[in-house]
Amino acid sequence: MKLVTEQRDGRTLLIVKEGRLDAHNSGELKDRILKLFEEGGRDLVVDLGDVQFIDSSGLGALLSGHKNAIQRSTGFALAGLQPRVKAMFELTRLQRVFEIYPGLREALDV
C-alpha cells in the first residue's frame, strides 16, 4: 500500500496514494495511523484525494484514527474527499463525526 508521510508546520500529513480502500489494505492504513500517533505525530491530516473507492473497512480504519486522536487529545482531519467517497460518509452519517476539509490547503490553514 502506498502511504506517504510529511511534516508541515508541526502537523503530520498522511497522503493515501491508493485508488481503493477496502478490506485488503484498510488494516495497513489503520496500523499506519496508530503508529504515527505512537511516534508522537500531532494533528494528523489524512489526504484522501486519490481515493476513488472506500468500503466499510476503510471507514473503520479512519474511525480508529479519529478515536485514537480523541484519546490523545489531538486533532484528526480528512481532506480531499472525492464526491462518491464523501457520499459514503454521508450515508453512514460519519461526515458529522469527522473533521472534513475540501482540500489539503484548507485543512492545513486551520
Binding site: 477496502d22 473507492f53 473503520g60 452519517r93
Partner: protein, 144 residues
C-alpha cells in the same frame, strides 16, 4: 435456478478466498453496471454501489464463511434477470441471521458493522438463505 430463461447475462466467478481479489470482483461488478442498457442518469453512482455491495459481501464471505473443504474459493454470481441486476455471493460457513443484524448506531462509533447496512441501503431486495451449494446472500437492484 440462477440461470432461468429470463437471464440475459450471467457471470459465474470463482476466486481464491483472499482479500486481494476484492478489487477485481468489485471492478467487474462496476463494469457490468456501467455497461447496462439505457442512459440512466445515475449510472456512475450505480456502478460505485454495485462495486461496494459486492466488496462488502465478498469480504464477509471471506471472513465468516470458511467452514469446510471448499473454503479456499469464493463463488460470486452476477447476472441480469428480467429487469434486475442480481448479485449472489456464496459462503460455506455456519450462516447467520441476516434480519437480526442491527443498523449501526452512530453514537457508538464502532469500527465495524456497516457492511450489511450498505448492502441494505443500496440494493432493492436482499435475502440470505441456505441452499444445497452453501449459504447465499442474494442482492437485487432494479435497473429500469
Amino acid at each position: 435456478m440462477c440461470t432461468t430463461s429470463e437471464t440475459i447475462l450471467n457471470l459465474d466467478i470463482m476466486v481464491p478466498s483472499q482479500t486481494r481479489y476484492l478489487r477485481l470482483i468489485g471492478n467487474i461488478a462496476e463494469q457490468l453496471a456501467r455497461d447496462l442498457d439505457g442512459e440512466k442518469s445515475d449510472r456512475e453512482a450505480l456502478a460505485y454501489h454495485l462495486n461496494l455491495v459486492v466488496t462488502e459481501a465478498v469480504t464477509n464471505a471471506i471472513q465468516y464463511g470458511c467452514a469446510n473443504e471448499r473454503k479456499d474459493k469464493i463463488r460470486i454470481l452476477l447476472s441480469i434477470e428480467n429487469s434486475d441486476l442480481c448479485v449472489r455471493v456464496y459462503d460455506y460457513g455456519q450462516g447467520f441471521d441476516f434480519e437480526a443484524v442491527p443498523t449501526p448506531d452512530i453514537d457508538e462509533l464502532s469500527e465495524r458493522g456497516r457492511g450489511i447496512f450498505f448492502i441494505r441501503s443500496l440494493m432493492d431486495h436482499v435475502e440470505y438463505r441456505k441452499t444445497e451449494s452453501g449459504n447465499v446472500l442474494e442482492m437485487k437492484k432494479r435497473i429500469t
